[in-house]
């Protein structure tokens, strides 16, 4: 460990003098003011319940080793994963899109690219996310509604028609059925003659946070984690620039968790994935450089920045100290960020633009690698084109007009931000030790331990909004009489399911049934042997016209399905 250094006051005499001065100030100026006018509250806390002081001084970070703060692009990466950050290239402006069929979403992609978006991100409909074909009874009413419907390779081809996948990085936001989508993406790339090693992009494929928070799961935990492992090892060998997992705190937050739950539980999930992959004999340095992350940027401005700085530092220490990484690339945490959808309101919905801008500002001050800013209409429905344009313009204003991109980690050295970063690091490691002591992440998911924490914090948040302790403009304060300006919400095209199902049925009719049956048998064999990688057979299947439902239903018969005992 690094030896604590007196920072930045120099000698311990200076520090003693400073501490004395703070006491003196409290006793005199502060006390005199409070006698005249009480402070608004007896104690102040962050949104995540960390107590905060009246102000912070050098004495508050005196015990922080200078090396823990460090420099951008250097261990422990507190100040950013890269040495030049936005001075070289702004974060990727990556607005998520998805609705209708592949053709429908392709149009939105083309629109966003034309508006200056620099990366693509794909939202899938519920049946695709849950592994059902569009003509399955469970899919009724849901086809193409909240995302794009993908059943077969033909849908994937329509989705990315005319988009150069070697030039555009593409994020696929999907989890339990992710590996099938990845297989389709690979076959699409092969058919177009791309070099797989040149594809940059990300697939979320983070199943553990699904059991904790987002609740999109199909199979029991063990085979699901095995699939994640297989994606990671496959990509490490065949797609060197591709991120095979996006370990996500965002959904932990949206499901009700506090900022500390978000980052600590995300790192608990990371530990499981790294352990599973290293069990195959792969060294951490062979795959860790492509692990990627996804966090929310919520409304408590400085707390969020401290949280994101702390998670970078904790990750670096975990990868180095717990997993023996030697390559700095294995220790550099890179993350996508999204503003907090749960902070958006229906009343006075235009105010959502302001909320989102402030959250986006914090995300960029914290050094995110890519960013999605939410639409002002997302308390109504999935966003319209106009709402997404406003969101993209918000990012462009920050990037082009504010000059915050010129200096890296401009809040580094702020007594408050550094002290809160330290608090977060300390608490993250406490929670991780607690998880280990209680038997590990998977056992605690099965026990509902994480889910209980999220439910409790969600409930407390609701009570705090009701009491007014947590102000929300337009909801519990600054209410307006009368109605808001009319809003145009995203329409659902009722012809979507028919158009989608017609294509899926055509693919089924056109495939070679003998070859298809042989490949399904091979899939069963691979699934039963967890030492094998499921990616190669899945790639063959989708190339041969298998639907997502064909693959998932076959595996359900072997692995079974997961049902949780709800905790509330």
């Amino acid at each position: 460990m690094n030896k604590p250094t007196d920072f930045p006051t120099g000698s311990s005499d200076d520090l003693g003098a400073l501490r004395q001065e703070v006491k003196d100030w409290e006793a005199n100026e502060v006390a005199a003011f409070i006698r005249k006018q009480e402070e608004r509250k007896e104690a102040f806390f962050t949104a995540g319940d960390f107590p905060v002081k009246r102000t912070y001084t050098a004495a508050d970070i005196a015990d922080t080793p200078i090396s823990d703060i460090g420099l951008p692009g250097r261990y422990p990466f507190t100040r950013g994963p890269y040495p030049t950050m936005y001075r070289s290239r702004n974060w990727t402006m990556r607005q998520i899109a998805g609705f209708g069929t592949g053709e429908d979403t392709n149009q939105r992609f083309q629109y966003l690219i034309a508006q200056g978006q620099t990366g693509l991100s794909t939202d899938f409909d519920m049946p695709t996310l849950m592994g059902y074909d569009s003509d399955h009874p469970m899919s009724e009413g849901e086809v193409g509604r909240e995302g794009v419907a993908v059943d077969t390779l033909a849908d994937m081809e329509a989705l990315f028609d005319g988009i150069d996948l070697e030039k555009n990085s593409v994020s696929l936001t999907i989890n339990p059925s992710a590996w099938i989508l990845l297989a389709m993406y690979i076959v699409l790339a092969q058919k177009r003659g791309y070099d797989l090693h040149k594809l940059s992009g990300t697939i979320q494929a983070d199943i553990l946070k699904e059991y904790m928070a987002q609740k999109e799961y199909i199979f029991p935990i063990a085979p699901s984690v095995r699939i994640c492992r297989d994606c990671i090892t496959y990509c490490a060998q065949h797609m060197k620039r591709y991120n095979p997992i996006n370990i996500s705190g965002y959904h932990i937050s949206e499901a009700g968790g506090s900022p500390i739950h978000e980052v600590a539980f995300t790192l608990a999930n990371l530990i499981v994935y790294v352990e599973e992959v290293t069990k195959t004999g792969m060294h951490v340095d062979e795959f860790a450089s492509r692990l990627s992350f996804f966090f929310v940027c919520g409304s408590d401005f400085f707390e969020e920045i401290a949280k994101l700085r702390a998670v970078r530092r904790c990750y670096a220490k975990i990868m180095k100290e717990r997993f023996g990484a030697k390559n700095p690339d294995s220790m550099r945490l890179r993350f996508h960020c999204q503003t907090a959808a749960a902070s958006l309101t229906k009343p006075q919905y235009q105010v959502n633009v302001v909320r989102t801008a402030l959250q986006a500002m914090a995300a960029t001050l914290a050094g995110c690698q890519s960013l999605h800013t939410n639409g002002y209409d997302e308390a109504f429905s999935i966003p319209t084109e106009e709402a997404m344009k406003m969101s993209l313009r918000t990012q462009q204003v920050i990037a082009e007009e504010t000059n915050i991109t010129q200096v890296i980690d401009p809040l580094g050295g702020s007594y408050y931000v550094e002290a809160m970063t330290n608090e977060y690091e300390k608490k993250i490691f406490e929670i991780l030790a607690d998880v280990d002591a209680r038997g590990g992440t998977i056992k605690l998911i099965e026990d509902g331990w994480f889910q209980r924490h999220l439910a409790d914090f969600a409930y407390e948040t609701v009570l705090r909004k009701q009491s007014g302790e947590k102000p929300v403009i337009g909801v519990n304060c600054f209410l307006e009489e009368g109605s808001d300006p009319d809003i145009h919400v995203h329409p659902y095209d009722q012809s979507t399911a028919d158009r989608q199902i017609a294509r899926t049925r055509r693919v089924r009719a056109e495939r070679d049934p003998v070859k298809f049956a042989q490949l399904l048998e091979k899939l069963v064999e691979v699934a039963k042997d967890d030492q094998q990688n499921i990616m190669p057979i899945t790639i063959e299947l989708v190339r041969a016209g298998a639907t997502m439902g064909d693959i998932v239903e076959t595996l359900k018969k072997i692995w079974g399905t997961y049902r949780e005992t709800p905790v509330y």
Partner: protein, 134 residues
Amino acid sequence: MEPIRVLLAKVGLDGHDRGVKVVARTLRDAGMDVIYSGLHRTPAEVVTAAVQEDVDVLGVSLLSGVQLTVFPKIFALLEEHGARDMIVIAGGVMPDEDVVELKKMGVAEVLLQDTTPDKIVATLKRLVTERGAR
């Protein structure tokens, strides 16, 4: 007086359960008998459970936009079970025009995001009082 009996349900593929669990806890803390179905239920499973448990109120939470597909099925199934008098409420995120449609269909109240716990409890009590004794 007997406690109000409530079945809260998630129907379809939607996994958003933050809101429904807050409502479950709110109603439980208010002294009601609350059953929560868990995720990914079909309308038939939900209505069968509601009838078997003889609940006063059936609440369905949806954040997946499928309200205009799900609620007609629920009402048809209630009709089949001779339980058309059961109080049905909706919760979640949905556009205003869908709220209007749901009310026309017979949904007694739609509790959107940011409805306070006190309001939720008061709404259910009012609906049960208005219905009168069974």
